[in-house]
Amino acid sequence: MRITVDGTLGLGLSAKDIILTIIRHIGGTGYAIEYAGSAIRQLSIEGRMTISNMTIEAGARFGIIAPDDKTLEYVYGRPYAPTGEKWEEAMAYWRLLPSDDTAVFDKEINIDAAAIEPTVTWGNSPQFCVGISDVIPDPASQADLATRANMESALTYMDLLPGTPVNKIDIDRVFIGSCTNSRIEDLRQAAEVFKGRCVVVPTLVVPGSGLVKSEAEREGLDRIFIDAGAQWREPGCSMCVAINGDVLSPGQRCASTSNRNFQGRQGMGSRTHLVSPAMAAAAAVTGRFTDSRRLSS
């Protein structure tokens, strides 16, 4: 399947909002997905990784994005990247990988990037998400009975009522990390919101690797997180999967940049809302879901 996202993403939005919106509308079970289009090409490699990473949440086997100059620049000079003559050979090979112009896909989907809003999940499956200016949907409006029952059980577990504005939902904890959103760009986006503000709920910031951690510290992002009152932690899976002792208490509601919001994922009885790093940071400094575009400095 090819998903083409064309147009320009609104200011302050990120790859997470694109992929949540895709999952909201598209079932990928039985497919591998190639992402294409101007909005995908405009993304950094970090953003493209967020998209590919969450392909599994759409039900698909894997997600790929054609390598371009940005990809090669990203790989150049990294640990384990080929060097010298071998680099030239590798580049020649990688240049062959993009799909032919004449390639035929089993399914083609087109998405307008300009229509995407900062997105928040409200249920126990990533497809259950809405824009920040929306309200919690009403299962009664669903014709399909199985979907309706699924929505109802999610609302009960999440302790939410249909019609509640998303920006009126208070949260208890914030987690910024995971393989979906803990690369340097994610941390920069979160730091942009934290700068000069203070968290009002306990907040964990967990870099994705030792390399990301040292780069963030070189840029002084760790100081921004710590000054805002967040915890700056060692790399690891942390609260995404409720390990390393980072667990929500039963009933606690968390704005999380991870990829899964299943029941009990962040601890027994935990309530997870998936968001972008900027939206997680905005929730941390306001205590509720807030349109991060209003806070960007």
């Binding site: 599994i56 080929p82 050979e89 029941q263």
Partner: protein, 202 residues
Amino acid sequence: MQPFRRFSAVAVPIDIPNCDTDQIIPARFLRRAKDDPAYSRFLLHDLRFHADDTETSFIFNQTPYTNAQILVCDINWGCGSSREAAVNALMANHIRTVIAPTFGDIHYSNCIKNGLLPVRLSAANCNHIRIQLHESPGASITIDLDKQAVSGPDRKRYMFDIDPMDKIRLLHGLDDISMTLEHQAEIEAFERDYRKKNRWIF
């Protein structure tokens, strides 16, 4: 891998649509070895046990369903995380078949790879069988893989489809590694050639 031909056992109905692999085995158990004596407890752990480790009233804890080796489930069984531990947790409880209308794609193939037979029956038939299992606790189901038939508690036959290759693997207990090793000479020849042509990878 244990071959799968014909199998009869007590079946338990699991009435949870979209039961994801985090429900089948919560992530905090993933670092435990699959021969851990406690492994069987990790299956559907948070549905089966309270925070203080006492049992809940979940159906799998109720006699005679505690002897079940077949699960009959609802739509999208095993969606979510691709963790193979979900299959390990089923196997630790001697579950050899899961019947459901639809499966998470990766979980389905993880079952096949471990010799556990995932059976797709229509949602109506799964629902019908689950109702029978509630009405007759401890009822058995028989699965004949060669004939691709499930015989329900009502003795009615329900036919199912399976990929012919998957069927052969299960019937003969062939796992990925043993199948791959049958081609060792060709693999080695390929690797020599591939290394020569793609120096940059190595």
